[in-house]
């Protein structure tokens, strides 16, 4: 029988659903923009006010990185949603959640890599007409999140073993 389902989790589910949808929309938008810069490069760049000011390949590279970021974010958000579902069903300590948390840990690390790549590309395509100088900052908070996810994966693995043990106890 499912245990009580805290209100914070109800809220979390709703927020997650919204974030997942928003992320997909952002991804589709960047993808559409990317296609536009390929099939109609000059008009699009003109509209963005970037015609002649900056490397088209550079902009496209940033967009590709953006899409990659969206995909990775999707993995993290859907993983978290799946974990919240198991809490709703009263069985959070399962091996699948340990695997999900580990995947999420690597995903957030990947997100950090994407962030670094975007900064490097942006600084590389900086031109006189459009100077870009973004500082490369390693976020301690994001790295802490990565560590937290890996630690939780270990905790959930232990928890799943303990639950299995308990299930056979009368």
């Amino acid at each position: 029988m499912p245990k009580s389902y805290p209100e914070t989790l109800v809220l979390t589910r709703r927020v997650l659903a919204g974030l997942i949808a928003l992320n997909v929309l952002v991804g589709l938008f960047i993808f559409a923009l990317l296609i536009a810069t390929i099939v109609a490069a000059d008009p699009v760049m003109n509209a963005l006010g970037l015609k002649g000011a900056i490397s088209y390949m550079g902009i496209r590279a940033v967009m590709v990185m953006g899409i990659l970021g969206v995909l990775i974010t999707h993995v993290v958000l859907t993983g978290l949603r799946a974990i919240v579902e198991t809490v709703k069903h009263g069985t959070p300590f399962v091996a699948e959640n340990a695997a999900r948390l580990q995947t999420m840990g690597w995903a957030v690390l990947g997100l950090e890599a994407v962030h670094i790549a975007i900064v490097l590309i942006a600084n590389a395509i900086s031109s006189q007409q459009l100077p870009i100088n973004v500082k490369l900052e390693l976020s301690l908070t994001r790295l802490l999140v990565v560590l937290l996810l890996f630690v939780l994966a270990g905790v959930f693995e232990q928890g799943s073993r303990m639950r299995e043990d308990l299930e056979g106890t009368v």
């Binding site: 073993r161 299995e164 043990d165 299930e167 056979g168 106890t169 009368v170």
Partner: protein, 82 residues
């Protein structure tokens, strides 16, 4: 599993059904079934005490150790580390 639970025999000699026992000691029929069919991995002393009180017997009347069955693993135990 080399520990056998002789719940059937005890219930029979006390003229009780599994349902009767379940109602008497407050353990679910599902859990008692797990115990009866040898699927249990562990039993709490509190459960053992309740069963012995209800059936007026000793733990030894309920549990039997069969060394010949040692090493026979339940399929569920195969992936579990010791």
């Amino acid at each position: 599993m080399s520990i056998n639970v002789k719940l059937d025999d005890m219930l029979h000699s006390r003229r009780m059904t599994l349902t009767d026992l379940s109602e008497e000691i407050g353990l679910t029929l599902a859990n008692l079934s797990i115990l009866k069919t040898g699927k249990a991995r562990a039993i709490r002393f509190s459960t053992l005490e309740a069963i012995c009180a209800a059936l007026d017997c000793q733990p030894g009347d309920l549990l039997e150790f069969n060394p010949a069955q040692r090493g026979e693993t339940d399929i569920n135990e195969l992936e579990k580390p010791v």
